[in-house]
């Protein structure tokens, strides 16, 4: 048996210290819904698991001040059903509730969710585990081995932010909503605490697709914060997938609006399921800002978001679908204005 140690960290500081002591062979584990999966698939081979799911206080959900603060190990379910989140930030709540299944959401944490890895089938199913017969080259899994998805079965792959090395989609729904809401990630590392805007948290694949996060080794996500804004209310997370639940997005849009009557004062638009990172579209935002929202304008905004998109063999439909999802999301969000 491969040796594997498992310890429960009592505090964030203890977790970070333990990670540092393990010298690179450790992984934090929270709900385990992604990490155990990756271990069984033969993609992750940690020697030490440091369980952060019981750290005192790191599950706190604070909504009193002028920010919303979600502890890194708060459960997806708990955040989604927090009254303030549910009622005043539907974009956040819906992004969680349209993800995975109730059972998974009861285990999975909002911090772990940020760090889940791509669903690219060549990445997941090609590591040579006995449970998955495949052995596929993949730059993300084995840097330099090549990308099987390019020229292959890429129907679910990205059309934005791709590179010659990798076209894998960033899978999470919650990070897309956080991207629209300009969230900040709070971290604790061997060098001390650090805050990073979510826009700087994710890396484009470029020629290093194996490096997905701007997270230093051993850094622990302690919290996620979102500045309170009236845009939260006129918001939605709209997700289109291959079935009505229990599936990742083919295309999704997180939209939050501030409106004067029918006119859009500010718009925040982020996309999921179509890009290699959670994807903010300033171009789409610019189209609707300052104008009365009509279905035609909404669709124009959607199209603008995909101006630089590039389809592969089977995924070009996402360019049109993604534009329409944005259009629908804008209309839904606008209908929710106070």
């Amino acid at each position: 048996m491969r040796a594997l140690s498992y310890t429960v960290a009592p505090s964030a500081e203890a977790a970070v210290a333990r990670f540092a002591a393990a010298q690179g062979s450790a992984r934090y584990i929270a709900g385990g819904t992604n990490l155990y999966d990756l271990m069984k698939l033969g993609i992750e081979h940690p020697a030490h698991l440091i369980d952060v799911s019981r750290i005192d206080g790191m599950d706190a959900i604070e909504t009193d001040g002028d920010i919303l603060r979600f502890g890194g190990r708060a459960l997806m379910t708990d955040v989604a059903y927090t009254p303030v989140v549910r009622d005043q930030y539907p974009v956040l709540s819906e992004s969680l509730l349209k993800a995975a299944s109730q059972q998974l959401r009861n285990m999975a944490t909002v911090g772990g969710n940020l760090l889940q890895r791509t669903r690219c089938m060549y990445f997941r199913n090609g590591a040579g585990s006995t449970s998955m017969v495949g052995v596929y080259p993949c730059n993300k899994r084995e840097p330099g081995s090549g990308c099987s998805a390019i020229g292959g079965l890429d129907r679910t792959h990205a059309v934005l932010g791709t590179s010659e090395a990798c076209t894998a989609v960033a899978p999470g729904d919650w990070p897309v909503a956080l991207m629209a809401m300009d969230a900040t990630i709070e971290m604790l590392g061997p060098e001390g605490p650090r805050n990073l805007p979510i826009a700087e948290f994710y890396r484009l694949p470029g020629d290093t697709p194996h490096r997905e996060f701007n997270l230093h080794p051993g850094e622990l996500v302690t919290a996620i914060t979102v500045r309170k804004t009236p845009a939260g209310r006129a918001s939605t997370y709209h997700k289109i997938r291959d079935r009505e639940s229990y599936a990742f997005a083919l295309a999704s849009a997180a939209v939050a609006l501030e409106m004067d009557g029918a006119t859009v004062r500010t718009a925040r638009i982020a996309l999921g399921g179509v890009a290699t990172t959670p994807w903010r579209s300033r171009a789409a935002e610019a189209i609707v800002t300052g104008s009365p929202l009509t279905p035609e304008l909404a669709l124009r905004a959607g199209r603008a978001a995909f101006a630089d998109a590039r389809g592969g063999q089977h995924n070009a439909f996402k360019i049109e679908l993604g534009a329409r999802v944005i259009a629908d999301a804008l209309i839904i969000a606008a209908e929710r204005r106070a």
């Binding site: 048996m1 491969r2 089938m121 006995t130 017969v133």
Partner: protein, 704 residues
């Protein structure tokens, strides 16, 4: 003499299943049991030139590794990706996995043809069929509709994986595993290990879904049995789903070219039909079977069918729920729909006008059947009359496109000879030894209901036994013939037992239920053993049943042919902007003859709609030709329907016996129940959008 309608009883094994007491193959635990894992080949075709099992042997916990040459099934020649090259046996399942992952192979690769569309793939023609004068009918036709239809490679994906436990005691082999044909497994094991009848037992008391995938004997059964004998300890293997995608059978991709001719009066006159499917040489799933059911669906006298196979380098495709009539029916029911539009006829009306009386294949009458009742009942429950005929003409207030679609299905009502032993005891218990496999379809409940409704016994102390070769012969539970075979035999056993009791009790039987009566008569029990034949069979069929021969027959019997029928109606909504496809409503009505167990029959009907929905809009096994394996080989990526996908489903059964097929009038339904859903959905999408989609699965990108 067909019986009265049956009243509804609960599923007899529901409580055991809910409480986790029902035993499946993989649940079996034996003292000292070891765990095994297969090592799959990672090339599509070629040869293993070297296999290094040493690292596996060095893995702590590994007890034994069988490699190339250690057992006939472990061959150096590789003919599909995933073909087992070794079996690792260890003290724990984790060690077996780790050992299996430590085995390395050196391959010589050979060119391969992964898909029927791959360069070099060639069609091999199979036998065709002709009835009537097709050419003349087409020459005289006023309206012709044609299309090329395609259904994808799909895997059964029963919830239960392939789980096998093998144990040897004093030279006697016992195997526990989920399967649909115990006698075939038993015979193959006897041959492979040179065993006599008293040296073998195969048990499959509960099967967690078969759908055809568990019909043929599995390679793993032999490997596990061999390992258990070699090591002298029980061995268990539960093959992971990713491997099953590659080694278990599947529904082959098939392409159907169909032309339908109608006369100036709007009568459907003739069909020219061609099918080609992916297959392996000498594959067990015949391309010649596709036309056989659909040619009997309507009164269309002229029918020409041609068929072919394209040989591919993957594992063997085989029967999958709905088998031939599902892909062929998708083509037929789509062109019937298209013809209705061309003729300006209502699609229900057009079907009603073409009720078949004759089987053009066997050239004899069809047994009385009730497809038109299904259509009328379905149309009324569904509210078909509110359909506006024009495509794209129905919308919701928010712009959502609405489509209503209908389609029918037909499946041969075959039967098998079988035996049963029924014993009622004075102590209040009853035991029925029957035959077959409980796969969740409810065969136990159906048999129990025949006994409960026929005899005054304690229903909660009735035990129905099957799925175990030590009980006696076990008929193959395939082609939806299990219930239709066992139930008439059970009915005969009930009759025989009543007769025996009457003989025993004389003119003045004592009071009480049957158990009390026996007690008063001082008889500890009475027992009958009966056998029942399908129409036209003679005693040789029972002999075949007893010896593992071909005991099945039909759906064409001497002088008549019997089929099961279904009509399904669906409502499809398509979002105006994103084109998300949903099915808020479906109605499914079937003629399966006499309904023996209303509860489990309805359950089949619901499941059939879900399965049909999933085949139409979700499922496809994806092969990347550069690698030849199945890329989406798990339940996250092989998209199947989930609860949230399924709207309101209303099911109904005509429940009129087929007077000719057997004493109860019962026909099969397990495959039938999914047949109409996919074409009904495609027809509804056409009605909603004006777009005729001829390739499954239909996905959002097809309607954008």
């Amino acid at each position: 003499m067909p019986t009265q309608a049956f009243s509804e009883i609960a599923r007899v094994d529901a409580r055991d299943k809910v409480l986790g007491r029902a035993q499946y193959g993989a649940d079996v635990k034996k003292p000292g049991m070891l765990y095994a894992m297969l090592v799959p080949a990672t090339i599509a075709k070629g040869k293993v030139s070297a296999l290094d099992v040493a690292p596996a042997m060095e893995t702590p916990g590994v007890v034994q590794v069988l490699g190339i040459g250690d057992f006939p099934a472990l061959r150096a020649e590789i003919s599909y990706r995933g073909q087992p090259t070794a079996l690792v046996v260890a003290e724990t399942v984790e060690a077996a996995i780790e050992g299996a992952e430590a085995v390395t192979a050196v391959y010589e690769t050979a060119p391969y043809i992964p898909l029927m569309t791959s360069p070099g793939a060639q069609r091999v023609d199979a036998e065709g069929f002709n009835a009537g004068d097709v050419d003349r009918a087409f020459q005289n036709a006023a309206t012709i509709v044609e299309g090329i239809f395609e259904t994808p490679t799909q895997h059964h994906n029963a919830m239960e994986l392939f789980g096998t436990v093998a144990e040897w005691t004093d030279g006697r082999l016992t195997v526990y595993e989920g399967c649909q044909n115990l006698d075939a497994v038993k015979a193959a094991l006897m041959k492979a290990f040179e065993l006599s009848l008293d040296q073998i037992a195969v048990k499959s008391e509960q099967v967690g879904g078969g759908f055809g995938q568990k019909s043929p004997p599995k390679m793993q059964t032999f490997l596990v049995a061999h390992a258990a004998r070699l090591i002298r300890r029980p061995v268990k293997l539960v093959t992971p789903r990713g491997q099953l995608f590659h080694i278990a059978n599947y529904r082959p991709r098939s392409v159907h070219t169909i032309r339908l001719a109608a006369s100036a009066e709007g009568r459907l006159q003739a069909i020219i039909y061609d099918v080609v499917q992916e297959n392996i040489p000498d594959g067990g799933f015949r391309s010649t079977g596709y036309h056989e059911d659909i040619a009997r669906l309507y009164a269309i006298e002229n029918f020409r069918a041609t068929a072919g196979d394209i040989h591919i380098d993957r594992q063997m495709p085989r029967h999958t729920r709905g088998t031939h009539p599902f892909p062929a029916g998708f083509a037929l029911e789509s062109v019937i729909d298209e013809m209705a539009y061309k003729l300006g006829k209502d699609p229900v009306e057009l079907r009603l006008e073409h009720e078949a009386k004759n089987d053009i294949i066997a050239g004899q009458p069809l047994s009385p059947h009730f497809l038109n009742d299904c259509l009328r009942e379905g149309a009324s429950r569904f509210g078909w009359s509110r359909r506006l005929p024009e495509p794209g003409s129905m919308r919701l207030a928010d712009g959502t496109l609405v489509g209503l679609g209908v389609a029918c299905g037909i499946f041969g009502a075959s039967m098998s000879a079988s035996e049963a032993t029924l014993r009622v005891r004075a102590d209040g218990t009853t035991r029925m030894i029957s035959s077959g496999h409980e796969m969740g379809q409810g065969i136990l409940t159906a048999i129990a209901n025949v006994i409960i409704q026929g005899l005054d016994i304690n229903p909660d102390r009735l035990e129905v036994l099957l799925g175990d070769t030590t009980l006696g012969p076990q008929l193959a539970t395939v082609g939806e013939r299990g219930t239709a075979s066992c139930v008439p035999t059970a009915a005969k056993a009930v009759e025989a037992l009543r007769a025996r009791f009457a003989e025993l009790a004389g003119a003045n039987p004592p009071a009480g239920n049957l158990h009390q009566q026996l007690a008063r008569l001082k008889r500890p029990y009475i027992e009958v053993k009966v056998s029942e034949l399908a129409p036209g069979q003679d005693a040789s069929a029972i002999e075949a049943y007893r010896t593992g021969g071909r005991a099945g027959t039909g759906p064409d019997y001497p002088g008549f042919t019997s089929m099961s029928y279904i009509a399904q109606f669906v409502e499809i909504h398509i979002d105006a902007t994103t084109r998300r496809i949903r099915m808020p409503r479906a109605v499914s009505i079937a003629d399966v003859g006499r309904v023996v167990s209303p509860r489990t029959a309805k359950s089949q009907m619901y499941g059939g709609v879900v399965w049909g929905f999933s085949t139409a809009l979700r499922e496809e096994s994806e092969v990347d030709p550069r690698f030849a394996g199945y890329l989406n080989d798990d339940l996250a990526d092989y998209v199947m329907a989930v609860n949230a996908d399924i709207g309101e489903v209303d099911v109904g059964l005509i429940d009129k016996p087929d007077p000719r097929i057997n004493s109860v009038g019962v026909k099969g339904m397990g495959e039938l129940v999914m047949l109409g859903t996919a074409p009904a959905i495609a027809n509804a999408i056409y009605h909603a959008t004006g777009k005729r989609l001829r390739k499954l699965p239909i996905r959002i990108n097809d309607v954008l």
